[in-house]
Structure formats: structure tokens, C-alpha cells
Symmetry: C2
Subunit: 277 residues, 2 copies
Amino acid sequence: MDAVKECLRNFPKEARELYLNDAVPYLDGPLSPLQVYREWIGPNKPCIIRNAFSDWPALSKWNPTYLREKVGSKVISVAVTPNGYADAVNGDRFVMPEERQMTFSSLLDIIEGKVKSNGVFYVQKQCSNLTEELPELTGDVQTHIPWMSEALGKHPDAVNFWLGEKSAVTSKLYQPATYRQKEDGNFETVDEEDSTKVPWIPLDPLNPDYERYPSYKLAKPVRCIVKAGEMLYLPSLWFHHVQQSHGCIAVNFWYDMEYDIKYNYFQLVESLTNAVG
Amino acid sequence: MDAVKECLRNFPKEARELYLNDAVPYLDGPLSPLQVYREWIGPNKPCIIRNAFSDWPALSKWNPTYLREKVGSKVISVAVTPNGYADAVNGDRFVMPEERQMTFSSLLDIIEGKVKSNGVFYVQKQCSNLTEELPELTGDVQTHIPWMSEALGKHPDAVNFWLGEKSAVTSKLYQPATYRQKEDGNFETVDEEDSTKVPWIPLDPLNPDYERYPSYKLAKPVRCIVKAGEMLYLPSLWFHHVQQSHGCIAVNFWYDMEYDIKYNYFQLVESLTNAVG
């Protein structure tokens, strides 16, 4: 059994020796679909692409005045929490954010600090809310990333509009493939149904509990900063955590992963780590 | 430990459920480089491509008369064995074939049955013998597969000419990445230096010794027949065994594998199977 544990400990070390980067590389401009596949999608490595959407009107247009004019009166669903942690484990349960219905203008009032409010407000949906709920804004962006769509042979499964203030963080680490969205109207506590299907991870990477999760000492997080005008390619099956330096907007293009050889291997590692405890 | 073994036993089952085919699919004509990458190289799945080299003069030209005329007087290196098994394990050693120097014409005499000879004769080199030793024949083929070279972003590391009679088989299963060619002039017995670097596998898939290798009962070999004019894409890290139905020529384009995420996972599985014994 020690030999098995040793194999599992060596695995990420060998990954770093073989092909993983210590930092997320920057690319200058979009690649060809084939290059994207061969160099990033295939090896499942993240990268940051500059000048990938310089032609989007959103880059210059999207400011509070414009957004109030275009979508100010629209009612949107905002995740509200007392502390910015949209999901936090409490004992053997976790608390989901309040999903508050409010106009876009009222949200901007809070983000801009014009209105004081208890709680941290974050629009961070996975339901293609940009195309479904805010079609007025789609003319300012592209509704897919052409070279990524061509590489993957499909269009995104969701295009999401995220708007959050400085304190908003994603405290959840999850497998994109199995991510599920709850549409609760109020704070509530919900039992975790099945840990393999809803892999909420009760570890806060900003303040890890090494006593409860000693293995996390072995983790080597890769940190990167994505600035305005930059695009992050985050591969499937990468556990991740997001913080914002200030109030900002992000557009997220979600391409569903393939359940292929890499997922097959990922599941093996997951089941083995469960087996060795 | 039983749980670990169970994980490893489930792994190939899940692979078949998730993405692997029971049979090798046939494609009609070459794909685009991007499709090749996305559908076959990325998922590491074999396929047979028809009409991929219909324009090669070799298809109509390569017969004994033509070959005698073009390269008959050239001296080539032929693997000679008593039984067609180019490498056979004997106790804790294995016997390599005799590498006999002979003219192409003398080899054809034997393949055609014009001359009787003891032993089985097979030209099966990995040293780019087509381009290096038989440049007279390269005008009849392409020296690379354009859509595969574009997909992989490089040219083949070796282009090999294989010519064998019916009884010639490859009895070795190996990792392409670590395959090594010995250049011995005579029969000899050689110690296996390091089983992870020279992964000769002492199991004959045509006559497996289940008593010594009981796990092989769990193997589900995928069988396919590659006919004249067809091309087999055999991904890296696939253990394989080749037989010929009759004397025939094959051209092998060898693109070195990438030591990437898939190799990383492969090594994990290899080290785990060693760890559980």
C-alpha cells in the first residue's frame, strides 16, 4: 500500500517534469485551431491569450453609464452572501448563496458604492445568462470564440456574463463536467447528495485547514492574473479558485468537456485516492 | 489493497464504456489535420484509413520484377529466425534474430519460393531504412503523410520499409517510444538490461501462457485486418502484435510520441501495476 501511495505522490511530480508549466504562459494573439488543439487542449494545459478579442466593442463600451442605458431596467439574478463565499462548508453541510432578483441598475448602485448594502453581490451564472438573459449585450462581444469553436468542432454550451465586486470569490473547486446550478430563492442549507457528483471541496485555498487536509501541503497551485483584454484558457478537470482585484466583468465561454481518455484517467486517479484514503 | 486492484480492473472497463471502440473503425479517405488531431490523436484511438495514398505509384509498380530492377543488387539487412518469431523469450533471456546481409534479389528469391531456405526472412527495421537504404524507392511513395505531419506539426522521425513472408510475425509488444533496435550479426542470447527501458513482453498473444500470466485473461485485444491500399493509424502506447496473411510490403511512418499528459498517466498505471504485483 505504501508503494501505491508513492506512485500517487510521484504522479504530479512527473507531470511537472514531463509537460506542465510552473506558471501559466502568455500567448500573443489567438492561435490557429490546430495549434490550439495540439498545444493546449490536447495536453490539457492552461494559457493566457492576449489580443484575442481586441475588436470587441465591449472593451470600450462596457461602463456603468452604458450598461444602465442598455440593460439597467432588466431584472437579473444575483448571488448574495454575507462574506463573498458563494458556497461554504459548515459541518457536513454547505450553504448556498441567496439568489436575489434585482434590476441591473440596483446592482450597479451597489457595485459602484452609491448604495450601501450588507453582503457581497456577484453575478456568476452557468446557464448561458449572457445570451439568454442579456441579449442586448451580445452585439458588443462575440457569442463564441471562432478558433476555439473550430478546434473543438462545436459552439460553446453556455456563454456567461459575470459581474462582481472586489470581495466576490469562487470558493468552490469543482469538476466542470459535473457542475450543477441550484436556483434557490433564499439562504438555505442543503445536504450534499453524492460527493462524486457534487464535488464541492470544503477547503479554502486562501486559508487551508492543513490539520483536516494534510495532503493539501503537497499541492502546488499555479497562480495567474488575468487582466482586462486577456483571455484565460482553463482546461477541463482543473480545480480552480477565482478572486477579483476590483469590481469587474468577465465573459465565460463554456465548452463541455469530452468524456475521453483523459477523463478515463482522471477517474482512475480519483478512485485510487479514495481507495488509499 | 483490494480496493486499489479493483480500481485498476475497472479502469479498462470504463475506458471501453467512455470512448474506446470494440473494433478499429474504417475512415473513407484522409481527414483534415484538425479532425485527425481531435478525433484520433487526442483520444489516442486507432483507425484504418482507406484511399489515403491512392496516388502512390508504389501501389501498381511494386512487384518482384520492378523491385529486382530498381534495388535487386542492393545489400540489405534481413532478420532471420528459425520460426518467424524475431524475439522469443527463453527462460530469463530472449533470442534476437540473426541480422543477415543479403541482396534484395536473393531475398525476393526466398520470398517468392524460388530458392528454398531454412528460416523465416523479414525486413522490419526502425532506422528509416526506406529513406536511408532504399532511396531508389522513395519516388514511388510519399516520404511523409502530409495531413498527419501537419496535425502533429512535424515530419516522421523514421520511414521504414517492411517486407516479409507469411510466417513473419512481430512477437514483441512494446512501447513505441522506447523501442530499441539491436544490430547483431548472428544469433546470440542477450540479457534483458532493464525491464522498464526494454519492455519485451514474454507473452505470445497467439498462444498465451495463462498460468504464468493470469491477468492476460482480462485483456480484450482489438483485432483488425489492414488490406492493400489501407493505412492503419496506431497511436502511441498501444501494445500490438502483427501477423501477415501472405508475403507483403508495408511502409511505416514513425512519428515520435510526445511525453505529455497521456504518457504521464500511462506511467502512473504502469508503476501502479508494478506496485500491486
